[in-house]
């Protein structure tokens, strides 16, 4: 479906945007790109969507389709096979949601008779029916984002390129989006998604790619990556009061703070019985226990020393934000 090999990109400032990135995906696959701001996620998506000009390296879209080395402009027909959700949810504010949808459907070669019922179904999935005839200028950010998703899906694209697709969506719309994404994948649609939500990445990705400073740090199926990682489970116990006593549990590091006790262990929840006994032995009362398994964000931090949502990681000049 798409293949990038040795892809590099340098911004006008001379800063490296991408360095020797290689990855590929076939029909039905969902590749999730994770990395902090400025890591090159959006740049990679803009290159694959043919928005940015031909870079160094090779970008090949579809088996017999466009290839960046040919220096040809991507044709309207080829771009019609892509469904793109950019980070900016921009529309014609003076037109209604439905009018915007029909306009973009028309650009992708889907006429009004065919597009209208498809859009109506997508509006229904995303909870936009009530505002379909309202001017987009009156939409909230989340509504604009949902409209953007509907516009990207209306022409049944073969390759979906989605930049932070769930950012700003309410939980029912997120669920609807995930359902649609899974349905489309089952029909052979390939997806390239940039997100920093570990839960979303783990749920949808067939392949996760970690980007840091424009380079691929690791890639693989999420379960494989996490299995190799091990990582520490964090158990947070809310308690009444504070103890000066040391709480020691074999195989865990335990920190006592006012109102809570945090334990980290590579043994997962196996330490939970010993931990609760140790806490109760100090005379504290347990109010609540939260368990957080290691996720892809933890793995990224272990590999790079960077936090995945750390916006300080690199410069984030408008238009060059990764």
């Amino acid at each position: 479906m798409f293949e990038v090999a040795g892809l590099s990109y340098t911004y006008s400032s001379g800063r490296a945007g991408l360095a020797n990135v290689s990855l590929q995906a076939g029909p039905g696959e969902r590749v999730v790109i994770m990395g902090p701001n400025g890591s090159g996620k959006s740049t990679l998506l803009r290159l694959v969507s043919t928005e940015l000009p031909a870079p160094r390296g090779t970008l090949r879209l579809f088996e017999s389709g466009w290839d960046s080395t040919s220096r040809r402009l991507a044709s309207r027909r080829l771009r019609g096979r892509l469904g793109v959700v950019q980070d900016q949810a921009v529309h014609f504010d003076e037109l209604t949601g439905m009018e915007n949808g029909l306009f973009f459907a028309e650009l992708y070669g889907v006429g009004e008779p065919e597009a209208e019922p498809r859009l109506a179904a997508l509006f229904s999935n995303f909870g936009l029916e009530a505002v379909r005839d309202v001017e987009v200028g009156e939409y909230s950010y989340g509504m604009r984002k949902k409209l953007l998703l509907a516009e990207a899906l209306v022409h049944d694209p073969e390759l979906l390129i989605l930049d932070e697709p769930t950012l700003g969506l309410d939980p029912p719309s997120q669920a609807a989006f995930l359902e649609i994404l899974e349905d489309r994948s089952a029909c052979g649609t390939c997806s390239l998604i940039a997100t920093n939500e570990p839960g979303l990445a783990r749920r949808v990705a067939t392949n996760v790619v970690f980007l840091s400073k424009g380079e691929v740090v690791a890639q693989g199926a999420p379960e494989e990556l996490l299995e190799g990682f091990g990582g520490k489970t964090t158990i947070e116990v809310s308690v009444t009061g504070h103890t000066a006593d040391t709480i020691a549990v074999e195989g865990a590091t335990v920190m006592a703070q006012q109102g809570r006790i945090v334990a980290e262990s590579e043994m997962g929840t196996e330490i939970l019985p010993d931990l609760t006994i140790a806490i109760l032995a100090t005379g504290l009362e347990i109010l609540r226990i939260d368990v957080r398994e290691p996720d892809l964000a933890d793995l990224f931090t272990t590999l790079t020393g960077l936090h995945i949502a750390d916006s300080r990681a690199d410069s984030s000049v408008r238009g060059e934000d990764g």
């Binding site: 911004y11 006008s12 803009r46 969507s49 043919t50 928005e51 940015l52 000009p53 991507a74 044709s75 309207r76 027909r77 080829l78 771009r79 019609g80 892509l82 793109v84 950019q86 900016q88 921009v90 529309h91 014609f92 973009f104 650009l107 992708y108 238009g319």
Partner: protein, 219 residues
Amino acid sequence: MVLNTLIPLLLVTPIAYSAAPAAHAAATFAVLFTLFGTFGSSIPLIRDGESGLLGRLGVAGVSPGGFLLQRVAATATLDLCQLAPSAAVIALGRGASSSDLLALAASATLGLFAANLLGAFTAAVARSVAEGALFAAVSALLLLHLSGTFRPSVPGTWQATVEGWMPFRPLHQSLLALAAPSSSSGAHSHLLPPVVAIFGILAFTGMVGRALMQPGLRR
């Protein structure tokens, strides 16, 4: 639309009904008509580029050249409609003939298309709305100057040859004819050289226009 029609009338009406010399009145009208076109084309294009809308259209596969041509044609038509009452006020105020008014219709169509094209060109090379406004004003005023709008034309000089090729020359000549219906100073100019010049601007705009819809090209 209504506001854009009324605002030019605020300037045109007092001048058309005053004793302002025809050359000065015509120059003012020519500047108004031209800047109406260049600013009206340049600034919304830059704003649409900054908002990401043009980039979206580009990603959807809209051809930059075709898009700009359609947009310039549409905005020039709107400008023509919005300036028609002002042209009518000038004609009434100065007692112009219907043939002068017809000549103005043709030259204003050409001039407004050129002005909108110039606006699209400046939008493609500008990096902000302020820069776009500056580029649009400077380039339009320069072309108006080269059209002989701000000085008397001296036949046989190189300046007179250049004037003949300027896209705003016919507009200025028609406005002069409208402002001074009884004088012979407003002789109508030939349209072919300015039309050729407009094709030149069109070619340049086509070359730089891709940058508007593919922001990554501004490197």
